[in-house]
Every structure is written in structure tokens, then in C-alpha cells.
Amino acid sequence: MRCWLLALALLAAPVLADSDLPSARWANEQLPDPRQEAAAKALMEELRCLVCQGQSIADSDAELAGDMRALVRQRIAAGEKPEAVRAWLTERYGDWVSYRPPVEPLTWPLWIMPLLLLGAGALLLRKRFRRRG
């Protein structure tokens, strides 16, 4: 009996995690204009899914990600710039929603670190070659 209940629970949970409605029109359909589609695709790859945090909305199968893809395509098709769409979402979910961190005092270390590390590497190399030579 308990085994049966467990099996039923396992079967039942995934069914209830999603809605019954089909995905939004532009969630999985490309825009007719290839330039607009390319812009939308590029933006979708840089927006984070709110459900499967860590996946982009381009990669995620979550329904909310599908609806976000539809929103991105509709806004781009309506002539909005990708950066405006990104800003609109950032206004709602914070910088977290974008995979491209803004350049501001808080994120300066993030942007400067690769340069610093490259510089340190170059210094190390120079020391090494000098000693040999």
C-alpha cells in the first residue's frame, strides 16, 4: 500500500507542476524577419530563467521562460531595442536577470580582475625568461 502511494505521488507531482495551456505563440516560433530573430535570440541567451536559475531563457523549458521568450520576441518585433527590453526586465528583477553585469563601482573588480590577472601572468613570465636568459 505504501509503495503504491509512493509510486502515485511520484507520478502525480510532475503533472501538477505545469499548467494545461499551450505555450505562448512566440515562445518557440521564430520571428519572420531574420535580423529581428537574431537580435531576439542574442538577448534571450543573456537573460536568466527565474525558475531554473542558472539557465538562460533560450535554454530553459520552464513555462515562465517560454512566456519571457514570447515577451522578448513581441517587443523586438514591435521595434524595441534589445537593450530597452533588458532594461525593462532589470527594472523588475534586478541585475540578477541579465547575464551581462553592468559596469558600476560594485562590479568594477569583476571587470578589472581579468586584466589584473593577465598583467600578473605577464610579470611572472618575464621574471622566468629573464632568469633563464
Binding site: 513555462e63 515562465l64 523588475r92
Partner: protein
């Protein structure tokens, strides 16, 4: 100097253990909060989500008294868990409206028939547009909107019995 250097690996190990223990005891909060708290509700107008209950628009939320807006769905299991607590809030005089995310009229009616209807208005959000405009990242979520239509508070996840006093307090504060 070199006498102490040999303790470095031990120090690194200790640091590692401390960090792991800290995150085990206090797991990171992975909720993505709405940045709309303190902002006016974005303009929207949603059709009724089911027969006999009016739809919801942003105008309905600026009525001079604070209201709760519950983002829910009939297909969402935690929404069932919080249903009795929404009924309790309604009983205590809190006006509550709802946004039904990706839902069907018949399913909404069945959900309300089974778990009670604490809502005055329910808007149908078929493509999660209003949910996204509110900065909500899942169901269920509950927003408190003051009498001028400004979002004052966001509760993420199902309302649990212990959350009721806090919600009532925030609702009073928004008056």
C-alpha cells in the same frame, strides 16, 4: 616565517570547513525579489479568469484602501496549501484580488469551489505578462498594493500560518 608556512594548508582546510558548515546551517536565499516594491503597479487590464467574477485591471488596485494581490494558479500545489489562510485574511477584512497565471476558466472555478473564494476580482494572465510586469518569479506570490496603487510588499511562496500576522501588519502599514 617558513615555520608558520606549513600551517597554511591546515588554515585553508579550516576555512573551507567553516564556509561549508556556514552554508549548510544557513542556506543561501535563492529567491529573486521583485524590484517593483515601492513602485506604482504597472498598467494592465486582464479579462475575467472565470465566469461570474470580474477581471482585474491596474485601476482596480488604486481604490483608496490597501489590497492584497495574490498571484496563483489552479495547477499550483502550494496554492492549495495557502488557500485557507487567504480565506482567514478575507475574514479579517482584507480585500484580496488575484491574477490567475496560465489557467482555464473551468479549472479556476473548480479550484475556488473546492478551496473557497477569497477573491473579489480575478484576472486571467494567459501568457504570464502581468506576472512578469509585477516582477513575480513564480506562483504563489502575494503583493500588498496601497490605496494609491503603489506596491508596498511582496510575499514569495505560499502563505504559512506564521506569515498571517506579518501580512496583516504590512496591510495595516499600507493604510
Amino acid at each position: 616565517m617558513s615555520r608558520y608556512l606549513r600551517f597554511v594548508p591546515l588554515a585553508v582546510l579550516l576555512l573551507f570547513v567553516v564556509v561549508v558548515a556556514w552554508r549548510l546551517v544557513m542556506p543561501e536565499d535563492t529567491k529573486v525579489r521583485s524590484q517593483m516594491t515601492g513602485q506604482p503597479v504597472p498598467t494592465f487590464a486582464l479579462a475575467p479568469a472565470t465566469n461570474g467574477i470580474p477581471g482585474l485591471s491596474s485601476k482596480d488596485l488604486a481604490t483608496g484602501q490597501p489590497r492584497l494581490v495574490n498571484v496563483f494558479a489552479s495547477w499550483c500545489v502550494p496554492c492549495i496549501a495557502e488557500a485557507p489562510l487567504l480565506m482567514e485574511l478575507k475574514r479579517q477584512g482584507v480585500p484580496i484580488d488575484a491574477v490567475a497565471v496560465r489557467d482555464k476558466p473551468a479549472d479556476v472555478a473548480e479550484f475556488l469551489g473546492r478551496h473557497g473564494n477569497p477573491f473579489e476580482r480575478i484576472g486571467a494572465d494567459d501568457e504570464s505578462r502581468v506576472q512578469i510586469a509585477l516582477g513575480s518569479s513564480g506562483v504563489p506570490e502575494t503583493f500588498i498594493v496601497d490605496g494609491r496603487g503603489v506596491i508596498r510588499y511582496q510575499h514569495m511562496g505560499p502563505i504559512e500560518p506564521g506569515d498571517v500576522p506579518a501580512l496583516l501588519g504590512e496591510w495595516e502599514k499600507a493604510r
